[in-house]
Amino acid sequence: MSGSPYAPHTATETAEMLEAVGVADEEALFDIPEDVAFDGEFGIEPRTEREIRAECARLFARNDDLVEFLGRGHYSHYVPSVVDHLADRAEFITSYTQYQPEITQGFLQALFEYQSLLVELTGLPVANCSMYDAATALAEAATLADRVRSTSGDVVLIPEHLREGKRGVLENYCAGADLTVESYPMDDGNADVDALADRVGEDVVMVYAENPTVRGCIEERLAEIGEVAAEADALFTLGSDVVALSVLEEPASVGADVVVGEAGALGLPAAYGMGLGVFACKDDYLRQVPGRLVGASEDAEGTRAYTLTLQTREQHIRKERATSNICTNQAWVALRAAIHAATLGPDGLVELAHDCVRDAEALAADLDALSGVAAPVHDRHHLREFAVRTDQPAAAIAGDLEAEGFAVHVIGEHLIEVCVTDLNADRTDALVEAFEEVL
């Protein structure tokens, strides 16, 4: 029988330690009543690390090698090698939350810089150092709205075009706060601001919009949405991602109270949905923010130092009156995003975002030129992705495209969505050809 390969005890050491503790064997240290003791087997055979690497490589090789034109909230851009090399440094990745700031200045500063990046991107003065993902960040925004809104009300208004999963998470968080989720209609891919204005009222605690939308449409009347929300004393929460925010209207400038979204578009490769939730807001809500905040302070020598701060908001102090139950978050992913952003610099970020606009436009035009296909469906500007109308059933086309080596979204009976970034921009011609093939 082999022990844990990571428990360092030699037999002698174990014996001596048992003696020091004053017991005969390890079993004697367990105070488990017999009726609940486990004496079965899991049947998990230990393997060597080489075997497991081979096994998992074999497994993953079973995933088809498709060129993904997929987005809808989970975006991949090329992650420079330096991001991996730095974030993988053991002092970062094998570290815990910074409960002792004196000895964890490095990570604290990195998180402080991440927060600052979001402050610049959103124009809002407060950003926490991560939520799990865009969906949970949105959900937390709703409960924050509920806590801070001066008048009562229980409706959270969301756009009709929203990723299913995001709505699902929002509903689960809202249920506990007795909030109801309701959607407002779209107008050719943008929020139908007039319909929204008609709907908004006393009962609405929060209005949510996305820029770009889940269909990649850039919102053209964001400031108006902000005004509509403000008039009803509802919070205006804007969803976006860090690449889009580099070039699109600054959320603060359109009246956003809260910004949520994805920061994993930087730093993370396609990760089967793993994300990095953005949460930024106005100063007014500082003490209602969920999650961790890093602040600057001084040490006993008067040198600048960083520390987790405003922890009285959090579950470990405030318990059931905490702003959220979040504890472990996505700190290391935030570090990755910060390194990626630093590597790109503002010019690199802007160029990346602009390419996402140009490449989407070009691909849409190429697809539109095919018969049996119209793209983009919405007469809007797009970033990264856009909807495509197909004469034939979308599911069949997507299936055929998959056989040709391409993955796209099916979002309606005759609707496909396609997302282009720097990672697949050199394969758009091939995609167009494949479309031609399967139509």
């Binding site: 082999s2 390969p5 990571y6 360092p8 174990t14 503790v21 105070d31 009543p33 009726d35 609940v36 055979e45 690390e49 690497r53 096994e55 998992c56 490589a57 074999r58 993953f60 079973r62 995933n63 088809d64 989970h74 991949s76 730095l86 053991a90 970062f92 990745i93 094998t94 570290s95 815990y96 910074q98 490095g106 500063q109 402080f112 810089e113 402050v119 610049e120 799990y132 865009a134 969906a135 949970t136 999963g165 689960n172 850039i218 070039v247 600054e250 400038s253 089967y272 949905g273 905040l293 890093v294 006993a300 130092a305 579950q315 139950n325 610099g345 802007v350 602009h354 500007h381 993955a407």
Partner: protein, 477 residues
Amino acid sequence: MIHDQARYTREDDALHEPLLSEKGEQTVDVRDSSPLPDDLTREELTLPNPSEPEVARHYTRLSQMNWAIDTGPYPLGSCTMKYNPKFTEDVAADPNAAVHPDRSDRSVQGTLELCYGLQEFLADIGGMDAVTLQPPAGAAGELTGILIAKAYHEHHGNDRSEVVIPASAHGTNFATAAMAGYDVVELPSDENGRVDVEALDAAVGEDTAALMLTNPNTVGLFERDIAEIADIVHDAGGLLYYDGANLNALLGRARPGDMGFDVMHYNVHKTFATPHGGGGPGAGPVGVVEELAEFLPTPHVREINDGNVGYEAVEPERSIGKVHGFTGNWLVLIKAYAYIARLGDAGLADAAAKAVLNANYLAERIDMDVPHGPFHHEFAATAGDRDAADVAKRMLDFGVHPPTTKWPAMVPEAMLTEPTEIENRSSLEDLATAFNVAYADSDEVLADAPSRTTARRIDQASAARTPRLSWQALDDE
């Protein structure tokens, strides 16, 4: 051992490694090069523009100013800071694992098979019937579990409003119950931090949706009355929720499912050695008994039952829906799978044994009192008339990280200590020395501590009084 942490100091500016923004910023005119109409864009973007060599130096230096499990012992009680096997990083870095969550099931059979395999591992280890991998952390697992309990009660037409939680429980338990819309009933503990069965009996009733419990409890003691506790809750129609934070103590020796728990979460970043990453990402898979399986979040991975070999992601019949926008913290889950496969049955059991041995040995070696026992993988020492937080600061000078301090509250000046199985005797001795020297030091020495870390004692109060949360805020001063 004495540890002087690295410092890169700019004395003139009274700071260590400058912020990237202080090393040089660039303002880009966004509209200049934009393919978009001006009214859809921001005017400019101002951010640091370091070269790649500068980026490398910045983060290399920052990393050296950060403690980690790879620099030394990290015995944070209830946090289970284990060594994170390096090969699990390689496994997770497989480019074939880097897929989008909206891929068709057919095209990601490898990913689904690993998910399924991990679900099975976890179900076996916890004694559960079905497992979801979706929750991205322990607290998210709690919320998932409680939402499942809620859905279960609602499905059975029960409108229950309370969740019972022992006073010594972790803050997330309370916050979770509240987030799910429950009233929290706080349960006083007995003198050992264990559930007071009589008090429980009194607290539980037809309003009780669930009891949330961790076992061993937060001072490391096994809830010996767990069978009786389960009966009480079940008899009242409630469910038992197991907080898996302390599962490392029981691996292969006891299973929540066998103790009567109906739903539980696993902290893979504790028990299964996935790196904590300075605060995350973790993953908090949730296991349930058969009756609750239909409420699991969507999507859920199962074997295809139509004769074909393969896996599919489906929506359970009465699914609570989503607790994460996609499928959870996939890269973390891969590492957990690899870790469990590496240890196997014997390794898991040995991990628990050595974790418990290490805790007991260390407790034996320190001069502080440990009021409660017999404990398992962690113990709450008391600093008595010393300030536990000060003692902890002093410990920082000795090449170790201090334990969790001042929690749980039932132990005065608690130092909740969990060395885990990865420490050898010599590092336990280093820990003991740090404890003992700090505990014996004068108040003045403690107040001045630490003196060898990158930062000296930090003024936390002023950080909270005048929050400065960004480099923009510093610039504004």
